[in-house]
Amino acid sequence: MSKSITLLLQGDEAVVEGGMAAGADFFAGYPITPASEIAEGFAEQLPEKGGKFIQMEDEIAGMGCIVGASLAGAKAITATSGPGFSLKQENLGFAIMVEAPCVVVNVQRVGPSTGLPTSPSQGDIMQAKWGTHGDHPIIALSPSSVSETFDLTVTAFNLAEKYRIPVILLLDEIVGHMREKITIPPADELEIVNRKKPKPEDNDNFYPYEETEDLIPPMPDYGTGFKYHSTGLFHDKTGFPRGKTEDARKLMDRLMGKINNNLDDIIHLEEDLNGDEDVVVLAYGSTVRSAISAVNQVREDGVKAGWVKLKTIWPFADDYVRELAEKVDRIIVPELNMGQLIGEVKRVAAGKAEVTGINRYDGTLITPADVVAEIKGAL
């Protein structure tokens, strides 16, 4: 394939196209609205390229299965929505602990519980960060269009492989189900990252969880002779359990460090700022679209407004938002929840800029008019 193709795709379908383009060769999961189209797409496409699809008995199994596949060398992905995301949390934590690269898609619907299965939400922002127990690093990305869903799926795989970590892709039902035209670039134009692997001759002195300079130890595929151990228990560089405090701290510091030392590479955002803004709308996911529309409208009335789109939700763009808060009077955070990411914005903007939210949690979107009203109300 050496030329681009244009298609009309749903966001869910763009996950499949993006995954295939990124080299995904394994999907395991369980059907759930509004994410089932992702499973259906991979079921059809993976075997065409020699990849594997398996529908598991439940969500927990889907998560365990992709971690096993990842350790065996696969580029693995699963997809779910709120109730399933809740079920996956324990094995997600395991993936973080054994540093198994994989991608977990959550097409958010309104919760809690069964909630509103076919309506959009951004209610799992905090769950993406804190859903599994204990402190841990996580990367979560959130696209706002079909085209961006393709791009961020590729990015999700690349970051997962590079940093040996599960990457969460947070769609919402709107992005997951809406159809837009998307131009898929030729395969040779995409940058694809693959995990670092040890060389066979490294076997004698091999420590699977060694504190390498970049804090990311090379990862052998199962069956290549390294015969190493991985466990969800705290462990030392050998991979075997160590309950001692200094070892526990060392492992946590390394797991956090491999992400925190590379924030510039991991945090992706876009902005439309002229530098003289009084008010900035900071948004993510489908809500971005109303933010852009509203900012364009109020600018016509002479309001000094701008917008920022966070594509990386976690780790949070602390430094960027802190600097932004120093420059503007007010930051507006529209969210399809009762106020989740706004807490992060308030934390870093404290004392510098006023931070207000626009919140909907009833399955309907925040409209451009809602955002315009909030911007004008701020003046």
């Binding site: 060769d25 394994f26 395991a28 075997p47 065409e48 020699g50 594997k52 398996i54 598991m56 008995e57 439940d58 927990i60 199994a61 889907g62 998560m63 365990g64 299965c65 992709i66 971690v67 096993g68 596949a69 990842s70 350790l71 065996a72 060398g73 696969a74 693995a76 324990e90 094995n91 395991f94 054994v98 595929d221 199962y222 069956g223 290549t224 002779g225 390294f226 015969k227 190493y228 151990h229 991985s230 466990t231 969800g232 228990l233 075997f240 359990p241």
Partner: protein
């Protein structure tokens, strides 16, 4: 036996943490001897275990090993096997890990007939967490969570695996290591889902609490109550009361899951190229 089992054990991780008289070590020893006899490639073998006393087995074994979350070993194993069907995949689990929290995965792995060998350490109790009853604790027995006697029914895991679609089902016991080795070897060489239940004694949290006694008494109990499968089949239901059959209980040939998926890939890819 004349095997050097040392190469299959991580010597520097031994002695193991299991209690004095625990049958898990005997099961582990039987496994490495069976593996040696199977002729399978050590470097192409992955052992996956869950949580509980049995969960520790993987750490003592010199293969690619993975010690996962409670009850989920089969889900990880399914991922490994599907991703690379060339690997031999073995799951070590317990009666709590494999029959309670992981029971659903056992049913569905059996149903798929995926080529994984399961060694289930059945000691009739949650040992590591201090003696709570498991789905394999016999009705009426005492555990820390059934201080007045267990009112739950225990079930027959081999029947469960068989009726769910496992194509190899067998039961061994720590009192009969030779038979257990042979059974495990057959299980390892079986193409398809092989379920091997092993009866293993927990003197600390089960035997003493239920007046069976220590490890030696528990082995005597096995000696008195184990019956070879062939003999068991010929017995009247009344005669079988309280007895447990051992050996290969079920074995059939049926197409294996990753082979079936390979066919899907081949068909799809052939269809693609024809277009």
């Amino acid at each position: 036996m004349d095997v050097n089992i040392d190469k299959y054990l991580r010597q520097d991780k031994l002695p193991h943490i299991w209690c004095p008289g625990c049958g898990h070590g005997t099961v582990l020893g039987s496994f490495v001897r069976a593996f040696d006899q199977s002729g399978l490639d050590q470097d192409k073998t992955v052992v996956i275990s869950g949580i509980g006393c049995s969960g520790r087995a993987s750490g003592y074994l010199n293969f690619d090993t993975l010690h996962v979350t409670h009850g989920r070993a089969l889900t990880f194993a399914t991922g490994v096997k599907m991703a690379n069907p060339e690997l031999n995949v073995i799951v070590m689990t317990g009666d709590g890990d494999g029959a309670a929290i992981g029971g659903n995965h056992l049913i569905h792995s059996s149903r798929r007939n995926i080529d994984i060998t399961v060694v289930l350490f059945n000691n009739n109790i949650y040992g590591m967490t201090g003696g709570q009853f498991s789905p394999m604790t016999p009705t009426g027995d005492t555990a820390t969570t059934s201080p007045y006697g267990n009112i739950d029914q225990n079930f027959d895991l081999c029947e469960l695996a068989k009726s769910s679609g496992a194509t190899f089902v067998g039961r061994g016991a720590s009192y009969q290591p030779r038979k257990m080795i042979k059974l495990m070897k057959e299980g390892l060489l079986h193409k398809g889902f092989a379920f091997v239940e092993t009866l293993t004694q927990c003197p600390v949290n089960y035997g003493k609490r239920n007046k069976i006694g220590g490890a030696r008494d528990m082995l005597k109990w096995q000696d008195e109550n184990l019956v070879p499968a062939k003999k068991y089949e010929k017995m009247d239901p009344a005669e079988r009361e309280g007895l447990i059959s051992t050996g290969i209980l079920h074995q059939v040939v049926k197409e294996e899951y990753t082979d079936k998926y390979k066919n899907v890939i081949n068909t799809v890819m052939a269809g693609e190229s024809n277009e």
